[in-house]
């Protein structure tokens, strides 16, 4: 059994976390705060979660459900 080729076009989504982090002037600020936490900190913590979601999405879109070839 052979794998269908991954749809590599979706890999481009993986650049989003890089753009988010490199755009420092956007998030190097105090306001708006969240529960008293400056933007600089909660923005980056939020991107930890978003990057995980993006990778999951890319995995699904580019590689199907990923349940093939007996690789668990």
């Amino acid at each position: 059994m052979s794998h269908p080729r991954p749809k590599k076009i979706w890999y481009w989504l993986l650049t989003l976390p890089y753009i988010a982090i490199f755009w420092l002037p956007f998030y190097n600020r105090i306001e708006p705060t969240l529960f008293g936490m400056p933007f600089f900190y909660w923005y980056q913590l939020l991107w930890v979660v978003l990057s995980s979601v993006i990778i999951a999405l890319v995995f699904k879109l580019a590689h199907g459900s990923g349940k093939r070839g007996g690789q668990s």
Binding site: I21, L24, F35, G36, I55, H63, Q71, S72
Partner: protein, 532 residues
């Protein structure tokens, strides 16, 4: 001495010791084979790989040093978070290719791959030596992590009596790594990670409540330290150092031998891809741990007389242990310290295994005795893993702690210099091995020079371009030079028409294995041709 905390700490330490020895019977196989001892037969599924990589990458020292940096300098110390954001999209793309080619050819170390891909023993040696040298101080720093929590328990930390707990902890670690190989840290990682998660969830609920909420915590920090310094007309301020530190650390992370070892031990490419989805859970924990630095400032632990002796001995590294002692009941502080202490054992074990694999495969077998059989190879690796740990222990006991920290700083700068030979090699054979070797030399020399110019105090180098200062991570600047030299020499080699080296891999080796059919594997690199 804090009796309750010490009892909890010792009990949990005892538990993982039993687990470490018991691990040799897990997924039972012939532990006389290096594939089994050193990579656990490449059979770890998604979940165990997640625990193993999590325990491996987010080390005890990370949990001590990251908040310590925030405690000391503020916002810059938060670079550990974007660093772990940047690493996984990259890993998602690169890892499955590296795993696939390693699986097909039976590579145990990254230098094995370089050896086969570029047909050069000397380039592989350069990669292996870099890995071994960069790993040693990293193991030593794990000991610093243990030392700090032992100090926090109130045990004596000077004289022979002070060194005893550390020696005992390390003897135990050495013994079960020797018998069980990679299975031991994998099993212990499960316990360690649960303790870490329990500790940190408690910390982010209990401590901010005690301190009156996050607004109060951040208000206690020096206002200048809350954000990065904005660029000015003649300097990029805190921006370039923050970004280069993030990207440089992200690129270096998975070049470290211990990261490669954990990665190779996964059972398949999709197990790795799923891990890049789930490993950010640890990054979130790391982010909250980083914030403990601000909490320690707000709690004012530095000025409490009961901790002044330890602050004097361990510096800002004592910020988090002091915060735990101050905020938690003794028994829970014991759990938190056990989490950190055990958190040191997991990566230390994997690091010593990885360094041993490198020595055995890419130094001994290649240059000293090519005729070792599988059993002798494994025996040698076990012995070397002991020697590596003894070296790290001696380092910590005999030299000031500062040396280990400085060497670790240099280790990161050196490690990243192996990047051009490894990651681009997964996509293209364009680079010539002579170019890569000279590029590596240029990177090591210039990187070391930049760190030396700061008196080995910092790896941030103020690069000046046309009068504009770009303070940045020396590793990244040295890497750019490394790439430039590698490319220039490669072009020169082509122009001169020098003989290219053989490549033992084919394009298909890098794709996901189509089947698990063992006949498609070519697990032997001993007769791969080399040009040097």
């Amino acid at each position: 001495m804090n009796v309750t905390a010490t009892i909890v700490f010792v009990a949990l330490f005892g538990l993982v010791t039993v687990l470490g020895f018991f691990a040799s019977r897990w997924k039972k196989a012939d532990l006389d084979s290096l594939q089994e001892w050193g990579l656990a037969g490449r059979r770890f599924g998604t979940l165990i790989t997640w625990f193993l990589l999590g325990g491996d990458l987010y080390t005890a020292y990370t949990f001590i040093a990251v908040p310590a940096l925030i405690f000391g300098v503020g916002a810059y110390g938060f670079f550990g978070v974007p660093y772990t954001i940047l690493v996984y999209p990259f890993a998602f793309l690169v890892f499955p290719r590296l795993w696939a080619v390693a699986h097909r050819h039976g590579f145990i170390t990254p230098a094995d791959f370089v050896r086969a891909r570029y047909g050069s023993r000397w380039l592989a040696l350069a990669i292996a030596i870099t890995g071994i040298v960069a790993t040693m101080p990293y193991i030593a720093l794990q000991l610093v992590g243990i030392e700090v929590v032992i100090g926090a328990l109130g045990l004596p930390t000077t004289g022979f009596l002070g060194e005893l707990p550390l020696i005992v902890a390390f003897a135990i670690l050495a013994a079960y790594t020797y018998t069980s190989g990679l299975r031991a840290p994998a099993m212990i990682a499960v316990v360690k990670d649960m303790l870490i998660y329990i500790t940190i969830i408690a910390a982010i609920i209990v401590i901010p409540a005690q301190l009156g909420g996050y607004a109060k915590i951040f208000a206690a920090a020096a206002p200048d330290n809350l954000l990065l310094k904005s660029p000015t007309a003649d300097s990029a301020g805190g921006y370039s150092s923050f970004l280069t530190a993030s990207i440089g650390s992200a690129l270096a992370l998975f070049l470290y031998p211990h990261a490669m070892t954990a990665m190779f031990s996964a059972s398949g490419t999709n197990a790795l891809r799923r891990n890049t989805v789930w490993l950010p859970a640890y990054s979130l924990v790391l982010g909250f741990i980083a914030l403990l630095g601000f909490m320690a400032i707000a709690a004012g632990v530095k000025n409490l007389p009961e901790y002044s002796a330890q602050f004097q001995q361990y510096g800002t590294n004592f910020a988090v242990p002091a915060l735990f002692l101050h905020s938690f009941p003794s028994w829970f502080a014991g759990i938190a310290f056990a989490a950190i202490g055990i958190g040191a054992l997991v990566p230390a074990a994997i690091m010593s295994i990885a360094a041993a694999n490198l020595y055995t495969r890419n130094v001994h077998r290649e240059f000293i005795n090519p005729n070792v059989n599988s059993k002798q190879e494994t025996q040698l690796a076990k012995t070397v893993s002991l020697v590596v740990k003894l070296g790290a222990l001696a380092f910590i006991l005999l030299l000031p702690m500062q040396y280990a920290i400085q060497l670790q700083l240099l280790g990161g700068v050196w490690m990243i210099q192996t990047l051009p030979a490894i990651f681009p090699g997964l996509y293209t054979r364009w680079f010539d091995h002579r170019g890569l070797l000279l590029g590596w030399v240029a990177g090591i020399v210039s990187g070391t020079g930049m760190v030396a110019s700061t008196g080995f105090k910092s790896s941030t180098y103020p690069l000046e371009i046309f009068g504009y200062t770009l303070p940045g991570y020396a590793a990244v600047y040295a890497l750019l030079l490394n790439f430039a030299v590698s490319a220039a020499i490669t072009v020169l080699v082509r122009l001169l028409g020098l003989k290219p080296a053989p490549d033992a891999t084919v394009a298909q080796d890098y794709e996901d294995p189509a089947t698990d059919d063992a006949s498609s594997l070519r697990p032997d690199i001993s007769n791969v041709p080399a040009v040097d």
